[in-house]
């Protein structure tokens, strides 16, 4: 599903953000990416989203070759990926419902399908009571659930989450993680970037640790401590 081969990424100015990274993630896996600040975690996600191109190596996601693909194919790759950010990135002038519907509207989906799917997805993330509430009236955890609903609405093959719990209270963080795990059980591949080692360890999932742009450990599921 996700295949990094000898991937290096140098930013202009001489930062070596990633150095010869090999990662292979199968369909249906749940993976944590751990590492200190500046280790290259977000860079890894940016490469998957094809916001950046690798300086070296090759990346395959689903059936897309990210290095060779045409620019106008990028939107279609991104519809296979659902992204969640630490800062939620909701549009403040839109309700929870509208925020999710927006993601569908701008990808040429019929109004009928939008009306059917948005409430369904909001129910999955447990926000059926707050559909018509604006983001500033929602807690951090609830806002992140709206963002997650937005990421899920295209029925993506992969969910990418960059520090999804970074701005949320610890108890609510656990809820979000449980939700991601449930989504994973339904068949979606989930990649969660975090530097919260303790949180990652509670879930006994595969954990890839980055340090200075290199993979320093890759522990399979139950072996994690």
């Amino acid at each position: 599903m996700i295949e990094f081969r000898n991937v290096s990424k140098n930013y202009p100015g001489g930062t070596h953000a990633l150095d010869d990274v090999d990662i292979s993630i199968d369909k249906g896996e749940f993976v944590f990416i751990l590492g200190h600040s500046g280790a290259g975690k977000s860079t890894l996600l940016k490469l998957m989203l094809r916001e950046e191109l690798p300086s070296k190596g090759s990346i395959m996601i689903a059936d897309y070759n990210l290095v060779k693909m045409k620019k106008r194919q990028v939107p279609y790759l991104r519809r296979e990926l659902g992204v969640v950010f630490q800062d939620f990135r909701l549009i403040p002038s839109m309700t929870a419902y509208e925020n999710v519907a927006f993601a569908m509207r701008v990808t040429n989906i019929s109004s009928k399908e939008i009306r059917r799917r948005v409430p369904y997805i909001l129910r999955i993330v447990g926000l059926e009571d707050k559909m018509h509430v604006y983001p500033d009236q929602l807690s951090g955890g609830e806002q992140q659930r709206v963002a997650l609903a937005r990421a899920l609405v295209h029925n993506p093959k992969i969910i990418l989450a960059d520090e999804p719990t970074g701005n949320i209270d610890p108890e609510l963080s656990l809820e979000i993680m449980e939700l991601l795990l449930e989504i994973n059980k339904l068949g979606t591949t989930v990649v969660v970037v975090t530097h919260d080692v303790a949180l990652a360890n509670r879930f006994h999932a595969r954990t890839i640790t980055l340090d200075h742009g290199r993979v320093v450990s890759d522990t399979k599921g139950k072996n994690a401590v």
């Binding site: 927006f102 040429n108 109004s111």
Partner: protein, 301 residues
Amino acid sequence: MRGSSLGYLIKKGISNIWLNRMMSAASMGILTACLIIVGGSGLLAVNIRDIFTAIENQNEMVIFIKEDATEEDVTVLGDKIDSLDHVSDYYYVSKAEALEEQKEYMGEKGYLLDGLEDDNPLPASYRLTLSGLEYLNETVEQLQHYRGVDTISAPTDLADTLTGVEKTALVLGSIIIGILIVASTVVISNTIRLTLFARRREINIMRYVGATNGFIRLPFVVEGMTIGIFSAVLAFGVIWAIYQSLGSLFAETRISWLTSVSNNLIPFMNLWYYVLGGFLIAGILIGSLSSSSSIRRYLKV
């Protein structure tokens, strides 16, 4: 793209105008002003053109022939005139014909000229009609040194003035129009850039959820085009009002040449579709070009 999506994106574009109403109003103001100035100059130009054409239709010259010219001189001159490109029509008027013409012109008093047949003071002449006023001077130069030519009567000063005015107006007009187009493009680009800034979160999300570039761009192009259309309609209304009221103002004055100008003004009813069409095309082009150029710079798409 499905209809409901298109409708949504167009609605978005129009709401962009409202989101940014101060700058949108400023853009429309400047574009309207530009269109009015350009359109006004255009209308002035076609009217002047019209008057010029009327004058040019009288672009005749008369070559008077000396008393002592031989028949050969007259024939040589006639052949030369015949060979000139810009002479659309010419004919010879003999002394006798000139006298006859003069008698007719004097009407009842024509009898006064009776008896002059043998001592006719009127010269023979060639009468020429040129294909354009601008050829007047060169034709005079080409013919004045021929043997038998006495004087040439032609409105050369008028020709110089009119041709000069036309040329100057053309150059000045192009410069002004160029400056105005650049100015409106800059102002509209800035307006669109402000909207882009105000909508940056949405654009960011659109990119992450896989909206195509067309979808991201369209609302902003709609915004620019709508500004263009509004400005065109507004400018059209203003131009119409000015044209009509200037016309009736001229008609009512006591200044006789203004009254005659107003009589010769091309009626707006014969021009309005050119004006509106031109304004709409210019407005839509300027609006959509300036928006797509600022989107390209902002999004790097």
